[in-house]
């Protein structure tokens, strides 16, 4: 239960891909950064909502997960590069035979995990292949 405030704090970033953009160097960040590593103290950061379309940079299929995720196995985890450039880690919902490096994906709203039977349900963004999904 201790993670409820930690989750709640990031609801805008988890339900939608709200990251940041440095106006100074025009670099986009997701997950959001408070300090731009290019400009540091000279940075001018603003929020930016990403559409969430991207491509798979690399991926794995997890067969052995932590307790919170073990009912979901096997599931695909990927590093996804968004169109604006930043990379994030997220699940890609499709058969392990389908996912490949370079595959285009788009975001969907799903349950990430649940805190057992009694705890909170953590919702957020996962990805599906752009081709072959409504």
């Amino acid at each position: 239960m201790s993670t409820v405030p930690r989750f709640w704090r990031h609801i805008p970033q988890r339900y939608n891909l709200v990251g940041t953009h440095c106006e100074k160097c025009d670099e986009y960040y997701y997950p959001p950064r408070t300090i731009c590593p290019n400009c540091r103290r000279n940075a001018k950061m603003e929020d930016h909502k990403f559409d969430g379309e991207g491509t798979v940079v690399t991926f794995t299929t997890i067969y052995n997960a932590t307790d919170d995720f073990k009912r979901q196995t096997p599931y695909n985890l990927a590093i996804i590069e968004l169109l604006e450039g930043p990379r994030l880690t997220g699940q890609v919902i499709c058969s392990p035979e389908v996912i490949e490096i370079g595959m285009r994906v788009k975001p969907v709203f799903r349950i990430l995990w649940k805190e057992g039977e009694r705890g909170i349900i953590y919702y957020g963004t996962k990805f599906v292949p752009t081709e072959g999904w409504v």
Binding site: Q72, R110, I111, I121, G132, V134
Partner: protein, 345 residues
């Protein structure tokens, strides 16, 4: 001032199980599918529930009419499978579609008709000028006990309707509701599966209420079935809507575009609203649509709808109902049981 539907969106999970597969497991007669006129039903993924379905439907509704979510002043979500007994679905949906936080929200439950009740609540606020836009949703990942007759139909899906005064895709000309205390179907607090009255759900439940609401609205509107181009009746299976339509004087052609239950099953709070969406997917400006929902317990909300000019502009900007009939993935009973959490660990 006319009020009605500014936009609509649906979402149906991509998994299906065939009725014959369920019948195989439980040793039921092979013609179960034909007798129910339900051949397959939608099944949610492990990580989908009434909330995620509502969010996807709502996002489709916003996309279809390019609506600024800050205009939404009320969110009502009808479902009988809200994932939390206490903790609203509507707040999660609101945050996920990026609303301004100055809005009212509440979850509704009235078996399969909570979604149309949500539309009525929004119509009231919009008509009174209290809000600009209201978001009304019906969404469910309905449960049928293993082996029960309900298991052949209990499906997952949802629809979202943006109710407002301007740029109407369809005007809601009037509605009429009929409500009694009829315990034909229920689920007690904490119970995983609903109970039902078997054949008692038919005549005293579905038929009495849908018929009463329909006749009431036709009388109120001074219309007859022939005045409507299309009709949508709640679809617990593929038989009831056909039978009630016929008895009320509606034709098979009128209900055909909105009769989606044979291919996705009964999506409960989503059922009649997905049927309406499938009809809006094909209707022309000026067409009239008759809609009657049904919720066990029991009640029926009937609506008289006239399709507006905006429909042509917005129709193709989000997935249509039948787009969700493509690329489906069939599950066997074992995987379906895993998806639905029927295996208690």
């Amino acid at each position: 001032m006319p009020v009605g539907i500014v936009s609509y969106g649906v979402y149906i999970p991509r998994y299906r199980i065939k009725a014959e597969e369920i019948a195989r497991v439980w040793g039921e007669r092979e013609d179960m599918a034909q007798s129910l006129n339900v051949f397959e039903k939608s099944v949610p993924d492990f990580d989908e529930d009434a909330v995620t379905i509502a969010v996807e439907a709502a996002r489709n509704a916003l996309k279809r009419a390019s609506i600024d979510p800050a205009r939404i002043g009320a969110i009502y979500v009808g479902s009988e499978s809200h994932p939390y007994a206490v903790k609203p679905t509507g707040t999660i949906v609101g945050e996920a579609i990026g609303v301004d936080h100055q809005l009212t929200a509440a979850d509704l439950e009235f078996a399969c008709k909570a979604g149309t009740a949500a539309i009525q609540a929004c119509l009231g606020l919009v008509s009174a000028g209290m809000i600009d836009l209201g978001l009304a949703m019906g969404t469910d990942t309905s449960q049928g006990a293993p082996g029960d007759a309900l298991e052949y139909t209990a499906a997952a899906g949802g629809a979202a309707y943006l109710i407002g005064r301007e740029d109407l895709a369809a005007e809601i000309e009037g509605f009429y509701s009929f409500t009694t205390d009829t315990p034909d179907f229920w689920r007690r607090e904490g119970m995983p599966y609903p109970e039902h009255g078997g054949r008692f759900t038919g005549v005293p439940g579905y038929f009495k209420h849908v018929t009463s609401a329909t006749r009431g609205l036709l009388k109120k509107m001074k219309t007859i079935p022939e005045d409507y181009d299309y009709a949508v009746f709640h679809q617990p299976n593929g038989k009831f809507p056909r039978r009630v339509a016929k008895s009320l004087g509606f034709s098979a052609d009128q209900i055909e575009p909105g009769l989606v239950v044979p291919w996705i099953g009964n999506t409960y709070s989503g059922s009649s609203l997905i049927g309406l969406a499938a009809t809006l997917d094909v209707a022309k400006p000026g067409d009239r649509i008759f809609l009657a929902s049904f919720g066990s317990g029991a009640g029926s909300d009937a609506f008289s709808i006239r399709v507006g000019d905006a429909i042509e502009d917005i129709r193709n900007r989000a997935p249509r109902v039948r787009d969700y009939f493509e690329n489906v993935q069939y599950l066997d009973y074992a995987v379906y049981a895993k998806h639905k959490g029927k295996l208690r660990l």
